[in-house]
Every structure is written in structure tokens, then in C-alpha cells.
Assembly symmetry: D2
């Protein structure tokens, strides 16, 4: 059994890691840390876990974590992870960081986040479908929720050198903003609404750009506009993709099915994805249409932001890093309707 630790386990990604790991046949949840809740039962915070785990939150230093755990998921805010990861990483423990701290090249990170990086090291970007080299890594930067759905929606065209410009218009459930109440998560503000925000300046654009540009260095025109919708979970991304060639529906279908042919968690559909069909699961569903007017290809991707967009993908990374089948423990259909 793999002994897993979760650093910063009181939030949504921590809770979701535990929900998923409890069903993982090869993992024992060894430790869940929270300075603030140290000593309290994990299931007092994550009430759906009552009956499943007697675990208590602990306030652990890196030495004890490394001693007890084989794999550590770091689920703390950006800016904090960079102070924790270095003390964990220099060891034989495998580390998967769910924060933003190691997703971007250091100089880009510092520019985008406006803070100096305390630990300027490179990490592999943990989007399993694009990074086969994950299997040799002991440290992975788990992708952001928006970049997961956006990048997967456009990667096949970028990899084929066909993508000229990409505009990602994403719609996210409200758990993307975290477990703490704010005006933006206040029910009367969000119900019966859809709230656009950071129309041109969201930090996740840099991740999407980095990944697509890596697939095609000629691609420079990448835009991203996020919205919050009245849904607990899920991200639906509408990718308006302009290509530099005339592509038929069959062309596009071939490109996508071929690109994702050995990727069990990406389903290329004949119809338009919905959030219900991925809710609680690690899938990314993709559908598309070709615009007869201007060659625009509209690709829709649907993920669960807490699973494929965070905790499920982290476990998918763990599986690959540990030599397990990629789908181990997370091959579960969505809870639908």
C-alpha cells in the first residue's frame, strides 16, 4: 500500500482527494494536515466522510510527513506551497503540488503572480494526456482547473500545427473559488446569474498559453475569459479556435480521436458535452462543430473542476508516477443526473 499524505487538507481539493483515495485499492490515507484544525476529526469538516475515516487533522513538519508518507499531495494556496515543497522534495517521497507555484516557468510565474519565487525549480506540468514523462518524475505540478479543460480542448489542433488563434470562454462552478464564503459565493449573488470576471487578466491564461505554445511555438494568440455559473462543480469551456487551413468535420474528428486514442479519461463525443456526464468523475468530455462561415472550430470541453481539474488529476498523476495503471481507483462514472 502507498501511504499518502495531504498537506492542507481542510479545503475542497483536500476533501475531494480523501473522497477519491478512500476508494483507491492501493492507497492508505496516512495523514491529513491542517494547522488551524489540528486535532479535529477530518469528518467534522468533510461531513460526507463520516463513517469512512477516523483520521484527525494534524499539524506536521516536513520530516514527519516524509517519514510516514510515500506520496504527498500539497493542497495549500499559491505562495505557500513554494515554502513547503522544497523541504519535502529532497527525499524519496513523491510530491504532487496542486498549487500554482510550480506550473509556470519561474520568470513567468513571478510576472503573472507578482511575487518572487522562493524555490525557482522546474517541474513537469501534470497534464497526463500531454506529458508522458510524468512516469519518471518524483515531483509534479498539478494543472489548474481552467487550464486542464482549455488545454485539452485545443491541444490536438495545436499539436498538428493548425491552430492560429484561440479564445477560451470558460464557465466554472462555484467550488472553484474555494471553501470560504465571499460575496462571490454568496447564494443570492450567484443564483440566477452568470458572473464574468478578470475578463482579460486571469492568471490561468499563462498556463494555457505555455502548454499550447509548447505544442506549437508559432502559436501566440491565446485569450481566456472566465465566468462563474450557478453550479457547485464543473467547468465547461467553449473554445473558439481559428485554424490556418480548411478543415472538415471528419478532419477534426480524426485529429481529436487520434490524439486521444490511448487516453482513457478523454472522451471525444459526437454530441455536445454536459457537466452532468462528468460530475464527480475524472473525465474530460469533448465535442465540437466546424463553423461554415469562417472556419472557426468551436470545441466544448467539460470536466469536474474538483476531479479532473484538481484532485482526480492529482491521483492520475500519482498512479503514473507510482507505476500503477493510470485509471486505478478513479475509473468511476459520473454521478448523474
Amino acid at each position: 500500500m502507498i501511504n499518502a499524505g495531504i498537506v492542507g487538507a481542510s479545503g475542497y481539493t483536500g476533501g475531494e482527494l480523501m473522497r477519491l483515495l478512500l476508494n483507491h485499492p492501493k492507497v492508505n490515507i496516512e495523514a491529513a494536515t491542517s494547522r488551524r484544525l489540528s486535532g479535529e476529526a477530518v469528518s467534522d469538516t468533510h461531513k460526507h466522510l463520516r463513517g469512512f475515516s477516523d483520521l484527525k487533522f494534524e499539524d506536521l513538519g516536513p520530516e514527519e510527513i516524509k517519514e510516514r508518507c510515500d506520496v504527498v499531495f500539497v493542497a495549500v494556496p499559491h505562495g505557500t506551497a513554494m515554502n513547503i515543497v522544497p523541504e519535502l522534495i529532497d527525499s524519496d517521497v513523491k510530491v504532487i503540488d496542486l498549487s500554482a507555484d510550480y506550473r509556470l516557468k519561474t520568470d513567468i510565474f513571478e510576472e503573472v503572480y507578482g511575487i518572487e519565487h522562493a524555490d525557482p525549480r522546474d517541474a513537469v506540468f501534470g497534464l497526463v494526456e500531454l506529458h508522458p514523462e510524468i512516469k519518471d518524475q518524483s515531483f509534479i505540478a498539478n494543472p489548474g482547473c481552467y487550464p486542464t479543460g482549455a488545454t485539452l480542448s485545443a491541444a490536438p489542433l495545436a499539436a498538428a500545427g493548425l491552430l492560429k488563434m484561440a479564445i477560451f470562454d470558460s464557465k466554472s462552478g462555484i467550488t472553484g473559488a474555494g471553501i470560504n464564503p465571499t460575496p462571490a459565493s454568496h447564494y443570492p449573488n450567484m443564483a440566477e446569474n452568470v458572473q464574468a470576471y478578470k475578463l482579460t487578466t486571469h492568471r490561468h491564461r499563462a498556463e494555457i498559453f505555455q502548454e499550447l505554445n509548447r505544442l506549437d511555438s508559432k502559436l501566440t494568440d491565446v485569450s481566456f475569459t472566465p465566468h462563474v455559473i450557478p453550479s457547485i462543480r464543473g467547468i465547461l469551456t467553449t473554445a473558439h479556435l481559428f485554424v490556418n487551413d480548411s478543415l472538415s468535420v471528419e478532419d477534426v474528428r480524426d485529429i481529436y480521436t487520434d490524439f486521444y486514442k490511448d487516453k482513457p479519461f478523454v472522451r471525444v463525443l459526437d454530441d455536445i458535452p454536459s457537466l452532468g456526464a462528468v460530475r464527480g468523475s475524472n473525465f474530460c468530455d469533448i465535442g465540437f462543430e466546424v463553423d461554415a462561415n469562417n472556419g472557426r472550430i468551436v470545441v466544448i470541453s467539460a470536466i469536474d473542476n474538483l476531479v479532473k481539474g484538481a484532485s482526480g488529476q492529482a491521483i492520475q498523476n500519482m498512479n503514473v508516477m507510482c507505476g500503477l495503471d493510470e485509471i486505478t481507483g478513479i475509473w468511476t462514472p459520473a454521478t448523474s443526473p
Copy 2:
């Protein structure tokens, strides 16, 4: 492996049976029937199952079902099941009927549903927590969704002979009304609303009454008023229970925890249950307060109507009927938040 068949698999309970059975280590889904959809892929209707099953809907007669299946779940409307069950039941196949047809004693059924019963046989009521005799049965009438949550909220007091009068005020998610669109499920009618209906005449009252009266034949005053809330899943029942003795919080807690002490799917809580903590799971969470004014005990129970209120409970019944551990394949935490 147990070969399972689902008769009438195109609706929500059919889809949920498949979602759950796909994760059951001892079950193979052998057949899913639908006359209307015969020949179509199951995953064209239940899109969240794409990638999990190549099953096609079939239009099968009882002989073929019995030949291929060890267990049959009947998920057709009330009034229809009574014409299918008799042809299945006279065999060594185990049958679990999810319709209302066999839940009530025949005379009560005919009175409540206003139709003549085509197959007036007795069946054990498949509320596992109350019916240990399920383990010897080959035919079970799976309880209704409302009766599951309502009966479990009051059973300990009824069994103790303490319950004088019970008023169940239940709030159900909209999947309770089925997969077909109606004005009652039309989004603009149900969002931002809570809709009471059949204030005094809902048929499920008879099931609740039958079960509680079985525990205490002196109990006659049982009322039930259902509501639909803007939620996909879940039933929260507020049980206003009047008792014929003065009970302290500790008394009530002892009665409930003792009654449910070996029942893994009932969690007696110190706080008030929420639908989120049971969503997608087979749990029934129970909490309560004692009214200092008049001895009323207000018990809240929360279930997922499609799981503990239907398909999960059917599998729980199957587990017991087949000699498996009651929790096999359905010991999964809720998808929360």
C-alpha cells in the same frame, strides 16, 4: 459473478442501478431492457456511462431474462410490474421490484392505487434496517423513496412504543418525478421555488403507515406532506414526532443509536443532516432536537432519493439476499460538495 438484469433500464433508477453496479465487485450487468430503446446503446441514454459499458438495451421476454440472469431488478412503473414479476418470480432467480406494486398488502394497494392487483402475493418490504428476514427471500419489494427516509426517521421511537403521532413534512429533489419532462420539472417552474403537492393524499403515506404500524400497532396517527425543492437529488424529511412520554435529548440519542447500532448505512449525527453529505451515496443521516415546549421531537433524515431511496437500497437488498456483506459495492462516500 452475479449476472444481473434490469427490466426497464431507461429511467433514472435504471441508470443509477448501472452506475452503482459497475463498481460492484461481484456483479456483471448482463442485460438492460427497454422496449422503446431496444437496440440502442445504453450509454446513448445514460451518457455518464460512456466508456464503461457496451451494453445495448434489449427487448427480452421473461424466459430469456431468467436464463441469463441470477438477479433481476424490475424498474418499471407501478401497475406494470405486477404483470412482469409473476413470470420472473417462479424460478431460482432473485427478483427485486422497485415499483410500488408489492410494497403494500394487496387490499391496501388496491385502495390506495385504485387498480385491481393482477398478482396478489405478499412480499417482504425491502427496508434492510427493519427487515432481517430479507436474507431468506428471493423476492423483495423495494421501498419508495419518501417512505425510506420517513420510516427510518421514526422507526426507533415506534419500535420503543413511544410514538403517539407523526407528521412527516418531506422535501424531495426533482428526479423523484422521473426522467420525462413535465410542467412540474420545467426549470422555470421549479427553480427559486418549493412546490408542495398532494398535501394529504400522497400514496407513499400508506407505506410509511404500514411500516410504523407494524412496529407499534397502537400507532394510527401518521400524516405525510411532500414537497419538491430545486435540487436534482435528495430527500430531507422533517419528522414532527409527538411522543407519549417525556424524553430527554440523551434518551432519544440512546434510542436511536441503539436501534441503528449494526446498521452501517444509518448515521445518527450530533448535528442536522444535509443533502450534500449523502449525495450519490446509500446513507441515511439522522439528527434531531427535542422541543422544550411540547415534547415534540423533530427528527431530520437525509437520503439520496436515487440511491438509498431506490437503486442503492435495491443493491443493498441484493447483497443481503445473495449472502454478501450488506455494504458490498455501495460503501462509497457522498460526492460533496
Copy 3:
């Protein structure tokens, strides 16, 4: 024109007072106070009022308010109003207090709210349908949201001396908890949920009891259990009413239609009320069924908690106090669907 002031105008009831008063043909909104937001435009907080009002929040003392205003709405939290009202009330200004401070007799208030009353004076309870004496008052305690819907659902039976026991099971929209984000208003906690709380101890029970007991002093058994539903606005109350006589549907209908015959804002329906049909309006819709099993009468009332449950009712009170037609400025159909 009546010059109206709103003390504590930054919350939902303040915003709703302004929305409604802007359409009132006899009222000028003279002042809106907020210590915290003093100097800021009212429409920066209440964004739907942009273009309608150049008003700025002010931090005003009682003297200035009295000088500038003919009517003052006090929309501050309970415990605060009692320190503001006395300085306003001793004048020719009309005062309508929307807090809980003056709704209950002083001794009951102190017991229920656990604080000493700084200003133990009596006030008329501003439920216009029950208190014709409002027209002679210069100070009114505007009812709570839950008590409005609950009391109106049972008052006709209480007034007829027929009510033996009342159990109010109420379902409220989330604006009832106010404008400030809390875990209870956090979208992921409340969507797809219905949350029961204070099952037996909610303070509004005392108001309901006081009003019904005033109509029938023999009535003592009144219970109240509140819930929050995923809706922005609205309270649906399910009143389980036990009567000491056998009443037919026609009897009950006669009692209700007669009782409310000159009350324009109460609509006694032939069907079951919905929140949509009262949304944004000052109506209280009432429907019912008689339980053939036990003589229980189930009455459903539907109101908009911010209108008939707060600000609309306050204006209705103002109209009566000022000698205007009760419906002036608030005779508007619901925004439905």
C-alpha cells in the same frame, strides 16, 4: 410628498425599501443612512438602482433625520433598533421598525432574545391584515418574515376558535439570512440542499405564538421549524393545523375567504401556492387541503420574504399610517416566471 428616511439602508431590506419606494407615487426617498458606507452612492451597493437615484449613504443623527423626514424606516439589526427608535419616536415623525425589538411584549422579548430591553415600550404589531388599529399609530413594529407567512396561514382558524394545535414547517429563501456571506449562504453548501436549522428554538416562534394566541387565548400548542431552500427569495410555509371540529373543504374555504375578504394582499386560492407567483410582490397566497385521515388541515402560504415579509409590508404599514390606500405604490404583480 412624504419624505421617507431609511436608517440602516445597506442591507437587503434597505435595498428593497428603496426599490419599492422609487415606484411609490407619494414618497420621496429623502435619506438613506449607513455609518459604514457614508458618502458612497447608494447604487454602488444596490446596483440595480443605478440610474434611479443619486442618493448617497449618510451618517445622520436622530435630530437631522426627524427634521428631514416624515416617515422613518428602521432597518438595523435587533438589539440596535432599541437604541435608535426612542430618539426618533418622540416627535411627529412616523416610525416603522423592521427589527425584532418591538414585536414582542418586553418580558417575552427579553426571554427569547436573552438581552435586556433598553426601551420597554409597547408597539402595535404591523401585520395589517390583523391590526386595523395601525391607522392611528405613529410607531409600528413590522413583523418578522416567517411570522408573516405562518400567522396569515392560520389566523382565520384561530380567530374562529377552531385551532387546537399548529405546526409550522417553513421553507425560506436565502436572503432571509442577510447580505453578508456566511457558510450558511455559501453557494456550494446551499445549492442542491435544503437546510433545517433551529428545529425547535427559532425566535420567530414567539411572534407567531403571540399573534395566534391573541386571536384565541386557548391556543397554546404552536410549533415552528424553519428551513432554508436554494432560492434567493420567498417563504413557503406548510402549516399542519389540527382543529377541534370536523371541517369540510367548503367550511375551510368559507372561513378563509370571509376572513380575508377586504384584504387585497391575501389571495385565497383553489390550488397550491408557489413562490413564483409572489416573487417581488407584496402578496400572501394561501391554499389548503383537508386531511381525510385525521382532520388535519394543511395550509400552504407563500410570500416574498423581502416584500410581504419585510419591506413591502413596511410600506403597507406606512400607507395605512399615512391615510393612503393600503395598496398605494405596491400593487404590482410578481415577476414570474
Copy 4:
């Protein structure tokens, strides 16, 4: 008083016309037609109107409508209006058609809708902010819901000759799909979801294109992708606008505020619009950001699809056609929250 008739009054736009007209000081609702519901009370269908109107649906021929009405709103489906309008229009009655039949030039209509036009006449497109010539018309084609929000979001840049390419990504509430239940409006399908549809082929694209191209004939690249969100009302449009000049925030602000300076129902904001601030009202709120990366301007517009997107705009047209102040009877703030 203007006597108004509504042809096809049983749907959402018919109900909304009546809700709004009931508050219009210059209008008497003279007739509401519905063949199917003829003889039934209007308030049996539109329950929020109970107490406001004794009107019954009638099945009227064009002669009788013309005789009784000064203004006729035609609220029947596209393809039907073209058979009704000609019989109404040849008279001194003013006609406002809310269907799609007269919004496009005939040849474009026939191409987009795939049907032959029975009445190939030109009509002025009733977007008041862009068509001052409405004041001289007796027949107006009221714009579609999506085209209203999309066109207003981009018109100032198009009119300035600055718009090179426009991609409209719109998110609509579910009432946009009408009053009849369908799988697309089934609560369990739409809650917790956002559903993209007709990614490249929605008919409303032609209206948007026609209007923007009219403002700048060089503009040819206009895309439109609609989505349905879990909201009853509202359309939020995210307009990704590419311009052929480098524009600062101040430039854009000047262009928009200047363009809309005498348009009372368009509010150009400093922040990002929300649906709550326009709910139930006739406003179109507009906000924007300039993308520092690529000169893209992201403009957000928010409308209520049933008001500014349909019935409110129809009344705005009526006001102008009848020589009334444009805002008469519809100058009402949103019902918010």
C-alpha cells in the same frame, strides 16, 4: 388610453407583456388571444396576475382585433406570425411582431429559417437604441433576445468603423426556450450544468450580423455561440471584439458612453454586469475590459431576456411609435437580489 391586444398570449412573452402593461399608465389591455385556451381566465395560466385582471383568453379574428385595439403585439411562433400580420397591418392599428418573421430581409429569412415567406415585406428592426426611425412606423419587428444583448454590446465599435471581428458567446436563462417542458428545460438536465447548443448555426446570428453590418458594411466576421445556464431569466453576452486600431480603456469608454448618451435603458458601467441588476427590468448593462495581449476588447452585456430581450422592448417600441416618452411604464428597477 391605448387599447392593446396580445395575439398569442399564453406563453412567457405574452405573460410578461401583461405584467408590464398592467403598470403602464397609458395602456388598457383590451384583448389576449389564445385559440387553445379560449374562454379560460388569463390568470389561470399566468398565476401571478391573479387579482389584477379578469381578462379571459379569446379566439379572435383579425377584424375584431383591429376594431378593438390601437396596438397589437403578435407573440406567436415564427412561421405563424407571417400569416397573421398581413391581416392586421393594413389598417391604422400599430403592430409589433415579437416573432422572427420580419426581422431579417426576406431572402435571408428564407435561407436561415428554411421556409418560404408568406408576406415578404420590409420592417424596421425594433432595437430602439439603433433605429430612431421607429417613431414614424406602424409596424415593427421586435428583435430576438440574443441579438438584443449581442448587438448592443458591439454597436458602438461597429458604428465607429473600428470592429474587425466579433465572437459572441452568450449565456441565456431557460425561459428563452419557452413555456413548454422539453428535455432541455428538464430540471435535472439543466441544474448544475451549462449547455452549449447550435455552436455555429443558431439563427440569431443572422440578426446580429445584419444589424452590425448595417453599421459598418466592411464588417463580415461575426460568430455567435449560445449556451443555456441554470437561471430562469437573463442573457449575459461575452463579446470578444477584435478591433483594427489600438484603443485604450478611455477610448472605449468614450465611444460607448457617447454612443449611448441619450439611451436611458443602456447603462455603461465601470464594473462587470450581472444578471441580478437587470432582472425583471428593461435595462441593458454594459461593461468591458481591453486585453493588453492582443487588443481584444471583451464587452459584457446583461439583459433580462423576457424584458429588454422581448416584451419590455416591445413596449419601448410601442411608446416610441405612439409618441410617448420611451420609458413610460417600464422605468422600473430590477428585482434584486
